[in-house]
């Protein structure tokens, strides 16, 4: 089993603790993405797995072997760095062969491995070139080739696409996904880009402030965020979150905010909860725009329309707070400037406790 287990992993620099006891199990052949804002500890966690940072507490096992005190070279992991970390004085072939040469593998084996991986990554024509003579995408491929050629048990990716332009990033994302399918190696991937996380991951680990907020498949996290942080982090644009007070009756709770009312799902936590403060979460794509006030609609003012092609983002002002709606444009473009409110089905609304940010129970949805 080439899985990776983190049991209560802690990282501290002197008295400052930056990773606070992480528990995570990455299964064999699984592609797990660590995602979170800058400084949340995701790269530090990855570097602890690689052996580039000392583990201050807890236990790391790879392939059922405790790795806390094992040197990086003996962990059988390969890492792809954000800035590629290609040796500028070596050509593509030598860069890819570097790790194998260090391990004193035979020349014939090295040549065969480099040739095979270059074929997989479409680098055969560039083997004699130096990194300076390659494009960003080609360098990224070489960096991956250098990792693949060693046939490690675990791949570690530290924001490998963040230096590429948007188009190339999309292209490389697909290549990484295809490669993982083909090679089937356990992979841990760090990014702050939630689109990368959603598209690449078998499971996503959302981190914040050195702690894991939630672990799950992309759709689980999208549909059932455990708290308002996860809800606000995943999704593009992120979920709208409005502070409200429960004013409804016993069985049909209503959220009151900014002088308006919105019918909520009949959750257990909202029964007889008059006066309870909550956060109402509405995904931009779940709100239906209206141009005339309707029964149950919420009024807001249109600030700006961002046209994306088949869709448009309507930037609204809800009593002074921003509120974004994603809507189709086909046959509706002319009406978008007249939008002055929205409706949303109660069962598409997420409700979080205002104090803890935790999602109220009973809201689980299935994709």
């Amino acid at each position: 089993m080439s899985g990776v287990q983190l049991n209560g992993i802690i990282k501290a620099y002197g008295a400052v603790q930056v990773v606070h006891g992480i528990d995570l199990e990455v299964n064999e052949k699984e592609f797990v993405v660590l995602v979170g804002p800058s400084g949340c500890g995701k790269s530090t966690t990855l570097r602890m797995i690689a052996g580039l940072e000392e583990i201050s507490g807890g236990e790391l096992t790879i392939d059922e072997r405790v790795m806390n005190r094992v040197s990086p070279k003996d962990r059988d992991v390969a890492m792809v760095f954000q800035n590629y970390a290609l040796y500028p004085h070596l050509n593509v072939a030598d860069n890819m062969a570097f790790g194998l040469r260090i391990r004193k593998e035979s020349k014939a084996d090295i040549d065969a491995a480099v040739k095979e991986v270059a074929g997989i990554l479409g680098l055969e024509d560039y083997l004699e070139r130096r990194p300076a003579d390659l494009s960003g995408g080609q360098r990224q491929r070489v960096a991956m080739g250098r990792a693949i050629v060693r046939r490690p048990k675990v791949f570690l990716f530290d924001e490998p696409l963040s230096n590429l332009d948007a188009k190339l990033r999309t292209q490389m994302r697909a290549e990484i996904k295809r490669l993982h399918k083909r090679l089937g190696v356990t992979s841990i991937y760090v990014t702050h880009d939630q689109v990368e996380a959603m598209t690449l991951a078998d499971r996503i680990v959302v981190m914040n402030d050195g702690r894991i907020e939630q672990v799950g498949t992309p759709m689980e996290l999208f549909l059932n965020p455990a708290n308002s942080f996860v809800a606000g982090f995943l999704g593009a644009p992120p979920m709208n979150q409005v502070k409200a007070v429960i004013t409804g009756g016993d069985t049909s709770p209503v959220a009151s905010f900014k002088g308006q009312k919105l019918k909520l799902p009949a959750l257990a936590g909202l029964q007889n909860a008059e006066g309870r403060e909550v956060i109402v979460g509405i995904r931009p794509e779940y709100a239906d725009v209206v141009t005339q006030p309707e029964d149950g609609s919420v009024s807001c003012e249109l600030d700006l329309v961002e046209t994306l092609g088949s869709e448009a983002l309507l930037h609204m002002s809800l009593g002074g707070d921003p509120f974004v709606i994603r809507t189709d444009t086909l046959g509706r473009m002319a009406d978008l400037d007249a939008v002055n409110g929205f409706t949303v089905k109660p069962d598409l609304i997420k409700v979080f406790d205002a104090d803890t940010g935790v999602a109220l129970s009973g809201q689980t949805r299935v994709a």
Binding site: A50, G51, L52, P72, K73, D74, V77, A78, M79, F81, Q82, N83, A85, Y87, P88, H89, L90, F98, G99, I102, R103, R146, R150
Partner: protein, 315 residues
């Protein structure tokens, strides 16, 4: 109906572009001005005086009015045993300085880079940088004292081992090792700063990647640090080759004596003795011009070779 506009448009002339550029970037050129003036005053204007290498120069007639003598001074120089000896000494001392003196700052920089204890590292660096800031006269004094046959530390040690004291500074065979060694002692530390700066520029992720690949510290030094600073090493080597004939003659003048001329007299000391002490300015100018031409050829050759084989060059 108005006349159609010329949408092709004429590209601005070169002069207009330069004027526009100067207008936008004048601050940079103002900052550059002192350096340009320095070059003109101290390097280009003196070139006018080079013509005395081809004249029978007299300080009373001046540069312009002295009669031309063609290559007479060069004939004199190349017919002179002293000049040929000076060329030979210059080449030998320069070559040995290059062989032993050039790698030393690189080795020091690599060693400093491997020191992890910060206090020890800073102390060691300060100690090896210090000799650079000592006046050449003091350095010569230290060398003479250290190698003194009566009270010098070297001879004291030799005597302690049971041998006879050696008169280092009057023996021709010892002049070159003492001169080259003291030069390395004085400058190696300070010269290592350039290489330390180059090492600091190597991306830490290269080392991290190598660590994950299983490289040892020794392998990282050979396979990453050294190749990464190679462009800097080559640039410094080209500059050093350009100055190959510019042996630090102040120290030689302070250390040598007639008994060590045989191995210590170099072109610059000869120029000094003939030009300033012997008032043969024209002959000294011819020797200096020869020196400069050889240096120019050397730097051009080194630059071309480097450009061809390592993609690194001064221009």
């Amino acid at each position: 109906m108005s006349a159609p506009r010329d949408i092709t448009g004429d590209a601005p002339s070169k002069v207009a572009r330069i004027t526009e550029h100067l207008r936008n970037e004048w601050q940079l050129y103002v900052m550059l001005l002192p350096t340009i003036i320095w070059f003109i005053v101290f390097l280009y204007k003196p070139m006018y005086g080079l013509q005395i290498a081809f004249k029978d120069y007299s300080i009373f007639r001046g540069v312009a009015n002295s009669p031309w003598v063609g290559l007479e001074h060069f004939h004199t120089l190349f017919g002179s045993d002293q000049f040929l000896r000076a060329i030979k000494n210059t080449i030998i001392i320069s070559f040995l300085s290059l062989c032993f003196g050039f790698p030393m700052p690189i080795i020091l920089a690599l060693m400093f880079n491997e020191i992890t204890h910060q206090l020890f590292k800073k102390t060691a660096q300060t100690i090896v940088y210090l000799p650079h800031f000592i006046s050449t006269v003091i350095i010569a004094g230290i060398v003479m004292t250290a190698f003194s046959p009566s009270a010098g530390i070297v001879n004291t040690f030799i005597q302690w081992l049971g041998f006879e004291p050696i008169y280092f500074l009057i023996k021709p065979e010892w002049f070159r090792p003492i001169f080259i060694g003291s030069g390395i002692w004085q400058e190696a530390g300070f010269s290592s700063i350039v290489f330390l700066a180059a090492i600091a520029g190597v991306s830490p992720s290269l080392y991290e990647s190598a660590v994950v690949d299983g490289a040892s510290r020794w392998q990282m030094m050979w396979k990453i640090t050294l190749p990464s600073i190679l462009p800097t090493i080559i640039i410094m080597l080209i500059i050093r080759i350009g100055n190959l004939l510019e042996v630090g003659f102040e120290l030689i003048i302070l250390l040598y004596q007639p008994s060590t001329y045989e191995t210590g007299d170099v072109i610059n000391t000869l120029i000094y003795r003939q030009g300033l002490q012997g008032a043969q300015y024209d002959l000294a100018a011819a020797a200096g011009l020869f020196n400069a031409v050889v240096a120019f050829v050397l730097v051009m050759t080194a630059n071309t070779i480097s450009k061809r084989y390592s993609r690194t060059s001064l221009w």
